[in-house]
């Protein structure tokens, strides 16, 4: 595209003609001190809470503390150039981010500016980062499933669109992996995903983006990143910005999945800001409003009814625990806000159970009503079998020789079902794939298969079904149910398959 000079000149001419040079009144103050991303400003008498302010070098800030003589503000940007005596003015705006369709596939910072060097993004509109969550009138209950493609989650901890499901566990045991797999699985689902990285290593964010690209998942994903190198102010703002971007799509009636990775670091960033602003510290030195910090964010996840567009935001916040302690301050806060939690455990991870979900203490409080009928049919027995298995396992640890046949069978079944719930990263399974293999497992078709061959069995069975019984898979996908007739066909197919393998 060539630029024609006369066009440029005409644009400039128009801008000069329409140039508004009226002297207007601004509210000003003076910087008393600026340090650690915080500025104390004298004056600014009519400044509003959470109003954007502008420093004399163009950097913006956010007024958080309104005191008798001074205003305490966080600086959104480079703060080393701000010095004592600088003039500050109010802008009359609240912090907002640009949003729009063009953001899909891009990596942006907490202010909505691109950081992926793919050029500027033209926004559809700008939205305030803080917004009151949809009210009672506009909401409706969760009734549509959000398939994560992970057997252990979709079968036993189902997530519905509009739900808030916490992913909690120690460092590096696959919390992010679950979230990324869920994003990848939305490829064919028409769900837009927003991944908010808060206080993470830039290398890890780059890795996440790369794996999303590799799995063709960036085409429906926006990454909002406030890495560990950015100021606490931006880390504090990032989830709210991400949510504002997500809300734009929800208001258009679309379904959105947003991941906050992770809210413990967000709480740390807020603690830093609060302590520097001299707000009184409370438990674990967090400020008094740390609960509200997360509750107002997660309340914005919602499923709105048709008269309000019918869109949804499903939130998957992530919390990192220290040594499996889910009863620390921030974990308990977020557990009580969310509609359930997926608990990952170090012990399970180390025994090779990946994803390391603990089905005993993981719950989904509302997702059950959104689960498909087909999945409900197989998952009911699965949960029962597994809980029986867990109970027996403890007491069968010292040998199973003297046990009666029923108990032995339950133990054998449990071991195979546990094995079946293992799943490789970046390989989300479709609903029909999950239902058929779990059906085979819960109906006892795997009882004769050696435990270490279960994975192999599953892989071959998938290929077999794909090649020979595509119609069964298609019917499950379309009806989302297993009719008696279909059940018969499925059983025949499994029996057929058993004939083709040696175990």
């Amino acid at each position: 595209m060539s630029v024609r000079p006369d066009e440029v000149a005409s644009i400039l001419k128009k801008q000069i003609e329409n140039f508004d040079d009226k002297t207007n009144e601004v509210n000003v103050g003076t910087v008393i001190e600026a340090s650690d991303g915080i500025a104390q400003i004298f004056g600014l008498q009519n400044c509003l809470s959470s109003e954007l302010i502008e420093f004399s070098n163009g950097v913006r800030g956010l007024a958080l503390n309104l005191e008798e003589e001074t205003v305490g503000a966080i600086i959104l940007g480079e703060y080393s150039a701000i010095k004592e005596g600088d003039e500050v003015k109010t802008t009359g705006e609240v912090a907002s981010v640009p949003v729009g369709e063009n953001f899909i596939g891009r990596v942006v910072n907490a202010l909505g500016q691109p950081i992926d060097e793919l050029g500027s993004i033209s926004a559809a509109e700008t939205r305030p980062v803080e917004r009151i969550a949809p009210g009672v009138v506009s909401r409706k209950s969760v009734d549509q499933p959000l398939q994560t493609g992970i057997k252990a989650v979709d079968a036993m901890i189902p997530i519905g669109r509009g739900q808030r499901e916490l992913i909690i566990g120690d460092r590096s045991i696959g919390k992010t992996a679950i979230a990324i797999d869920a994003i990848i699985n939305q490829k064919s689902e028409d769900v837009i995903c927003v991944y908010v990285a808060i206080g993470q290593k830039d290398s890890k964010v780059a890795q996440t983006v790369a794996s999303l690209q590799e799995n063709d998942a960036m085409d429906h994903t926006i990454v909002v990143s406030a890495s560990a190198a950015e100021s606490a102010a931006l880390q504090y703002l990032a989830p709210y910005s991400g949510c504002a971007i997500a809300e734009y799509f929800m208001d258009q009636g679309k379904d959105v999945l947003i991941i906050y990775d992770d809210l413990s670091k967000h709480a740390w960033a807020y603690r830093q800001i609060s302590l520097l602003l001299k707000r009184p510290p409370g438990r674990e030195a967090y400020p008094g409003d740390v609960f509200y910090l997360h509750s107002r964010l997660l309340e914005r996840a919602a499923r709105v009814n048709e008269s309000f567009g019918g869109g949804s935001i499903t939130a998957l916040p992530i919390i990192e625990t220290q040594a499996g302690d889910v009863s620390a301050y921030i974990p308990t806060n977020v557990i009580s806000i969310t509609d359930g939690q997926i608990v990952l455990e170090q012990g399970l991870f180390n025994t090779g159970q990946r994803p390391a979900t603990n089905p005993g203490i993981s719950v989904s409080r509302v997702g059950g009503s959104a689960q498909t009928k087909a999945m409900k049919k197989v998952a009911g027995t699965l949960r029962l079998d597994l809980s029986q298995y867990r109970e027996l396992q403890a007491f069968a640890q010292f040998g199973t020789d003297d046990l009666d046949a029923t108990t032995k069978r339950q133990l054998e079944r449990g071991a195979r079902l546990t094995e079946l719930l293992k799943q490789k990263q970046y390989s989300p399974k479709s609903l029909s794939q999950q239902v058929t293999i779990l059906y085979a497992g819960t109906k006892g078709f795997l009882d004769e298969v050696p435990v270490d061959k279960v994975g192999d069995f599953e892989e071959k069975f998938e290929q077999f079904m794909d090649a020979q019984h595509k119609n069964i898979l298609d019917e499950i996908e379309s009806s989302k149910d297993i009719s008696d007739d279909l059940e018969k066909k499925l059983e025949d197919a499994i029996t057929n398959f058993q004939g083709t393998v040696s175990y």
Binding site: Q15, D21, E25, V26, N27, F42, K89, S120
Partner: protein
């Protein structure tokens, strides 16, 4: 004036109420102003920072220094000494001058121009006084970097009508791709 202790505001408003009852703003204003000047003088530090004086000695010193001081003034000084708040004097003075200004319906501001223009200052003051319905007292200064026009600051409100500000605005609007 920038950094002042907010605690002084309480004392200032209390003194303001007393002054209003007795209608002697001028007396208090002069007393606090003098006290503030003496406080900043390096020779008088011993008076405000030493604990050596007995109350009687302190009172007689105060009476000697402030010749026109009345009983209420002495009481204020004794109270400040007792509460160990003598260092608040400059802050109390600063807040009290604001109260005096408010009482006299006076508003203070700063005006910056490119060249010195003391001559027409009074006419600008008169114009603003009419507009704000208050007596305006301006403190003028010159700054060549603003090129031309006037920059006026009253309280926390800033009216920037300088050529420099307009040029900056024009630059911003030309660089703004969206509009």
């Amino acid at each position: 004036m920038l950094l002042r202790d907010v605690a002084g505001k309480r004392y200032a408003s209390a003194i303001g109420e007393i002054a209003e009852e007795n209608n002697n703003f001028d007396y208090w204003s002069k007393l606090l102003n003098d006290a503030s000047i003496i406080y900043h003088d390096s020779n008088s530090q011993v008076l405000f920072h030493s604990n050596e004086f007995t109350d009687e000695k302190f009172q007689s010193l105060i009476v000697d220094i402030f010749t026109e001081i009345d009983q209420q003034g002495i009481n204020l000084m004794k109270l400040l000494k007792k509460k160990n708040r003598l260092k608040l004097i400059p802050s109390i003075n600063s807040y009290f001058q604001e109260i005096v200004d408010q009482n006299d319906n006076v508003i203070r501001g700063e005006i910056v121009t490119a060249i010195n223009f003391e001559s027409s200052l009074s006419s600008i003051e008169g114009l603003l006084s009419k507009k704000l319905n208050k007596k305006v007292i301006l403190n003028a200064s010159a700054d060549e970097s603003i090129i031309g026009g006037i920059k006026l600051r009253i309280g926390d409100r800033l009216y920037d009508g300088t050529i420099k500000a307009r040029l900056n605005k024009l630059k911003d609007s030309l660089l703004d791709v969206k509009s």
